[in-house]
Amino acid sequence: MLETLPVFHQTPNKTWMPRMSFAPKNTAPRGDTLVVVFLRGAADVLNMVIPHGEDAYYQLRPTLGIPRPDDSKKMKEERVIDLDGFFGFHPNMSPLLESWQNRQLAIIHACGAPDESRSHFKAMELMERGVDDERGPASGWIGRHLATLNTGNSSPLRAVGMGTRPQRSLTGSVPVSALRSIADFHLGGDQQALQQMRAALNYVYQNDELGQDTLSIMDTLQKLDPLTYSSPIEYPDSEFGLALKQTAMLIKAEVGLEVSAIDLGGWDTHFTQGSAIGIMPNLMKDLAEGLAAFHADMSNHMSKLTIVTMSEFGRRAYENGSLGTDHGHGSMMMVLGGNVDGGKIHGEWPGLAEGQLIGPGDLAVTTDYRDVLSEVLIKRLNNPATGDVFPEYEPKLKNILK
């Protein structure tokens, strides 16, 4: 198979297929830029958006529970920040209060997928593919969104996965690029050497979409320099902060970005996750400070921007013996944007009392994550083909977006 033209070695792999392997179902002007933040490892959402109005929460979490907003025996900075009289933020989520108060942040609690394997890897795979079980397309839900909607945008930066590898959700017939660092996206060497390298790469990648995309991204990014990117906003000094900052750069530079996928890992907190301070509170801080910085930086773009956070499942309602939490079920999503019905906790709250929990003691799921994403697709991304993006699923829209 390598004998004829090895340099242009063709493989049956989808990545080598033309950008539009079939005519997209829909043609529409591009809608919002979508930023999808995946909290990998199953975030303990019960300690992020806390049902402080539930006695059961405090019974189930005698050590990890965050004190009620009016618990005068505790310092103020250790207590829940009340949102609506029943739910409240963990103190480290406070950077997001402004977005909440501006009604640009909506929270969908007890949200998740039907899969009850409690396996990170299976749950993540199914969720990123947007399917119920092993059957169904191998591509990702964002990949199918891109493939079913012709926005007239042929930019190689239409969809970008921030990091060293593209996220599973992005895979599909439209090539996508992983981007770790805009600053490092060059080949080095002087102008003449660069010209030679470019010519040679262009030659070996002449039939290869991803290679051609990489060359044009290189050309585009050469004009952007993150060191000179001036923004009064301080992003957290973390990989997550950098990913958000680079997303902001690409949006402002108008290079055709439609989707940016960002991971924030480390949420598998079986052991000493920390209540007010510790491992998980630090992750929340990174998340909340990052999103708040991004919101502030993009304040003039919010009417065309939707940010979604998700995680593969939630964690057990009761704490385990090692001051951590084991794998659970129901999770939580946040939607941030200029067209969000925000300042509100959406979805039905199933409760934490005995008889309300499911399986070994887990939060039930009352809103399927695909209901939220379908609404984003239809209302904000101009893509009504939710049946292709989430096969065999009939979404129930919850009016989270305007």
């Binding site: 198979m1 390598l2 004998e3 004829t4 033209l5 090895p6 340099v7 242009f8 070695h9 493989t11 049956p12 792999n13 989808k14 990998r40 490892g41 009850e116 409690r118 396996s119 990170h120 890897f121 299976k122 191998a138 996965g161 060293t164 590898r165 593209p166 992005l170 090539p175 996508v176 690029s177 981007l179 770790r180 490092d184 080949l187 060497g189 030679q196 390298m197 010519a199 040679a200 790469l201 030659y203 070996v204 990648y205 290869d208 991803l210 990489t214 890992g265 480390g266 598998d268 079986h270 052991f271 000493t272 385990n320 013996g321 090692s322 951590g324 084991d326 794998h327 399986g359 070994p360």
Partner: protein, 493 residues
């Protein structure tokens, strides 16, 4: 192993040449074996692909050996890894002192003062040694399997106390059993402090179990997620594993079963009644899991995915699984089925970053101390022991496509000899096989990288393209070499 006189002289010369590995070039020349003695011939696509599955990328001498003895014998030779002499490499690695230490000793040498640890050293040494083995070991299949099991039993070096535990796991679990018996392997892994710490089992105690390790042992190490266990099995197995822990004071870092932390009473896992018996409880379950039909399927399919294709033919997986059960987990026997029956059915696999880097160094006969390359691995997303979650680095093509730039950067830096303590002499290498004309040089090079030369039209088009971008003759060869390594074809194996 006893040293022969010749080995002794070699050792003496090595020691006098350098005290530490990051010394001078002759040492690496020793490792790379100098220039090939004979020119290389084209290989059939099938042979070239087979070689690149059995090894991290075919060196000239491996091509010659395959041609000389045939694929079946080559596989057998590689399976009999103990019979392959790797002394030069072993001697070189003796500079990495922590490789041979136990956890207590590593803790001691890294504890600089008042529990202020040099956490970096063991990780650096193991990563560097691992890369040197992958590049220079003659036991290539063995090293490929070491990498496979390191993913299967993934441990993240930066978590907690792993900095003095993982090195021991690498030596006593992974390397010890990589081509041994799966039952011994999973047994060793379950008793490995590094694994117990990584998956929080030291926190799994009476009354307040922690399910993490019990779940991953079934889901990722043995049965597979669809292997037929339930949430109840996870919770019951977690109770069996209560008290499996790590010593914290004397013999720090050794395995210990803490009777007082063990949950009393009988348990039931996968329908198996486990009478109260302390440490034996979990051991009974592990023995059951090790030779469970789901495990045989899961491991066989994973091996077939590594060596054959992302979607390997089911009959071969079946045969391998039957062999797994019939031989009670003999890894060599399972591999023999997968390689002998399966290599005829290979589909292209996208090289993972490590494979991409190592194959280019092996094929170009490069010398390196393996240090500066770690940063390239990090940028491409595959630094060893740096994957945080217990599933290990993904092994499917799709997972790695979409990030060409760091590979292109590596290709150009390598060819320009810009990577510190990493060196090749392209012209001298090609002179072994080429008449010296540019066309012939490119043919010889392409044969090294792809098994056989490019089509003439492709080759001449490429030369003309680089020429017209203003390159001199010498620059042209360099730019072509780098872009062949950067090319789509070289990303696949």
């Amino acid at each position: 192993m006893s040293l022969s006189r010749r080995d002794f002289l070699k050792l003496a010369s090595l020691l006098s040449a350098s005290a530490a590995l990051n010394a001078c070039a002759p040492v690496y020349r020793e490792l790379s074996g100098g220039l090939p003695a004979v020119p290389w011939a084209s290989l059939s696509a099938a042979d070239f692909t087979a070689l690149n599955r059995i090894t991290f990328g075919a060196r000239v001498e491996e091509r010659a050996r395959l041609t000389e003895i045939g694929l079946v014998n080559f596989i057998e030779e590689q399976l009999d890894h103990d019979a392959i002499n790797d002394l030069t490499l072993d001697l070189q690695l003796s500079n990495f002192k922590t490789l041979k230490m136990d956890a207590n000793q590593i803790e001691g040498v890294t504890n600089q003062i008042f529990d202020n640890y040099d956490r970096e050293r063991p990780a650096h040494e193991l990563r560097q040694a691992t890369l040197l083995r992958q590049i220079y070991s003659k036991r290539q299949l063995y090293e490929v399997m070491v990498e496979f099991w390191s993913d299967h039993f993934n441990i993240y070096f930066e978590k907690g106390k792993e900095f003095f535990l993982k090195t021991v796991d690498d030596r006593e679990v992974i390397r010890k059993h990589a081509l041994g018996n799966f039952r011994d392997l999973i047994w060793a892994s379950a008793h490995s402090p590094a694994m117990l710490v990584y998956l929080d089992n030291q926190a799994n105690v009476k009354g307040t179990p922690n399910e993490n390790y019990a779940r991953e042992l079934m889901e990722l190490h043995t049965l597979g997620v669809n292997g037929g266990y339930t949430q109840t099995d996870v919770m019951q197995f977690a109770r069996c594993l209560t008290g499996w822990s790590v010593k914290e004071h004397f013999w720090l870092g050794d395995f210990v079963f803490k009777e007082k932390q063990h949950e009393p009473g009988g348990k039931k896992v996968l329908g198996l009644a486990i009478p109260e018996s302390g440490q034996r409880e979990a051991e009974q379950v592990i023995e059951h899991l090790a030779l469970h039909p789901s495990t045989a399927q899961f491991i066989s399919a994973k091996l077939a995915r590594r060596f054959i294709s992302d979607n390997p033919p089911q009959p071969i997986v079946e045969r391998a699984a039957q062999t797994f059960l019939a031989t009670r987990g003999d890894i060599k026997s399972v591999l023999r089925v997968i390689l002998l029956d399966g290599l005829a059915f290979t589909q292209p696999k996208y090289k993972r970053p490590l494979n991409f880097i190592v194959s280019s160094l092996r094929m170009l006969n490069a010398e390196t101390d393996g240090a500066a390359l770690q940063d390239h691995l990090l940028r491409m997303g595959q630094l060893a022991f740096n994957w945080t979650t217990p599933d290990g680095y993904p092994d499917t093509s799709g997972a790695w496509q979409g990030s060409l730039m760091p590979r292109w950067q590596f290709a150009f830096e390598l060819i320009r000899n810009e990577i510190p303590k990493t060196k090749h002499d392209l012209k001298a290498l090609l002179d072994v096989s080429s008449t010296g004309s540019l066309q012939d040089d490119v043919d010889s090079l392409a044969s090294l990288l792809f098994g056989s030369p490019l089509e003439r039209l492709t080759r001449d088009g490429m030369i003309a393209t680089v020429h017209s971008a203003g390159a001199t003759e010498e620059e042209t060869l360099q730019v072509i070499a780098a872009s062949l390594i950067a090319s789509p074809a070289f990303q696949w194996r």
